[in-house]
């Protein structure tokens, strides 16, 4: 009778008996087993004490604080009000709080940076073709860009474009006098004014001045 298998079955039945879900035949078998098995008797006492403790925990006499009913009634009435802007705002705040509670702070920080970067980018002035020309990476590129813009200028001011200058004639000032004759187009006053309009940024002038033909 006192095998592991029968004890296990008996304990399952004891637990069911506690829940009032044991058939009368099964109950008689359990009683018979308990009469012969001290370990299962101890188990039955312990589990009965557990059940009694659970019932006790859920039915202790508690005094509600004053105004308890008024508080939950108010909460129910608030919940019953038709949804409006306030509720939407509350839901948004709750959603935001939920995001913060779910440890998404780093993700939110990165997302905010992206949004800021996007706003900054959109609000920045559009880059004009002439400004693009000033960020040439080599003297040759710069010279070609200047050539293009000079032709544009000439068209705008109604003058003829100056003779094109070979790219190899562009040298830094420190390398001595250029091998080609000086390009005189930039001395013309009309072109100077138009060039300032094209290169309004002082940094652009500073960067490119060393590379301009002298």
């Amino acid at each position: 009778m006192k095998t592991g298998q029968s004890c296990r079955k008996c304990r399952e039945a004891i637990n069911l008996r506690l829940c009032g879900a044991l058939e009368s035949e099964e109950a008689a078998r359990v009683e018979a087993h308990l009469a012969a098995c001290a370990e299962c008797r101890l188990y039955a006492e312990e589990v009965q004490a557990t059940a009694a403790g659970l019932r006790w925990l859920g039915s202790r006499d508690v005094e509600a604080r004053p105004g308890f009913r008024a508080r939950w009634t108010w909460a129910v009435e608030e919940a019953a009000r038709p949804s409006g802007f306030g509720e939407m705002a509350g839901a948004l705040v709750a959603w935001g709080r939920g995001l913060l509670q779910r440890n998404l702070r780093p993700g939110l920080a990165i997302a905010s940076l992206w949004v800021l970067a996007l706003v900054f980018r959109l609000s920045a002035p559009a880059v004009s073709p002439s400004t693009q020309a000033t960020v040439a990476r080599s003297p040759v590129e710069l010279f070609r860009a200047l050539e293009v813009h000079t032709q544009l200028l000439a068209r705008q001011v109604g003058r003829q474009s100056p003779a094109p200058v070979e790219p190899h004639s562009v040298r830094p000032r420190s390398e001595g006098p250029p091998s080609q004759p000086r390009a005189h187009w930039h001395h013309e006053p009309g072109v100077d004014v138009a060039a300032r309009e094209l290169f309004p940024h002082p940094i652009a002038h500073a960067n490119t001045s060393a590379l301009l033909p002298v």
Binding site: N15, Y43, A51, A52, A75
Partner: protein, 207 residues
């Protein structure tokens, strides 16, 4: 109804329910007031103090109001309310677990709670030492319950806090009576093992 045959509903529940489903908050509040005291007792078994228990009951009733249309009568109204209370409690526990609490913040709160429990005792009640012992036993038991998986917690609480029948629990949780039985068996085994050092026999004279 076979499932709820064990304990009848409070008189007038059906009428109040119909009116509450129709959007009448007064009817719902009247119905909820009938269950308020029992819900608070159950909440006190789960929450750390009366204040937290009151909040839990208020949340439960708001949730019940919002989803009153989903109550289908397969269990008693009180059982349905208690199942919502368990759900809210488990949700709050999960939230609390995911948020780290400094240990320093815990000690004074617990001390305050003990002191408050002793101060609130009526003159004819148990002695302060006895009350403190009971409070400690309740805390330990609560911790053991909280250590159970959610689905086992639900079954054991519905059975022993609410005295719900097994078919009622099965209908509420959407599982078979066999599943409810096996969960109950597992939960009782765990609880018995965990509270080996807890003398619960002395607690029974408290209520």
């Amino acid at each position: 109804m076979g499932i709820t045959a064990g304990r009848p509903e409070i008189a007038g529940t059906a009428d109040l329910l119909t009116r509450a489903r129709g959007g009448e908050t007064a009817a719902f509040c009247q119905l909820a007031a009938e269950h308020e005291r029992r819900l608070l007792q159950q909440a006190c078994g789960l929450a750390r103090d009366v204040s937290a228990a009151e909040d839990l009951v208020a949340e439960t009733l708001v949730e019940a109001w919002r989803s009153i249309g989903r109550y289908n009568g397969t269990c008693r109204f009180s059982t349905w309310l208690f199942s919502i209370l368990i759900h809210r409690h488990q949700k709050a526990l999960r939230r609390a677990r995911s948020r780290p609490i400094p240990l320093a913040a815990l000690a004074p709160a617990e001390a305050d709670q003990r002191q408050q429990a002793q101060e609130n005792l009526p003159a004819t009640g148990p002695s302060p030492a006895e009350a403190a012992m009971r409070q400690e036993a309740a805390d330990k038991l609560r911790q053991v319950i909280e250590g159970l998986p959610d689905k086992h917690q639900r079954v054991v609480l519905l059975r022993f806090f609410e005295d719900a029948s097994l078919p009622e629990i099965a209908a509420l949780l959407g599982c078979s009576v066999g599943t409810v039985k096996s969960r109950l068996h597992y939960a009782l085994e765990k609880l018995r093992e965990s509270q080996a050092g807890l003398n619960l026999s002395e607690l029974r004279g408290d209520t």
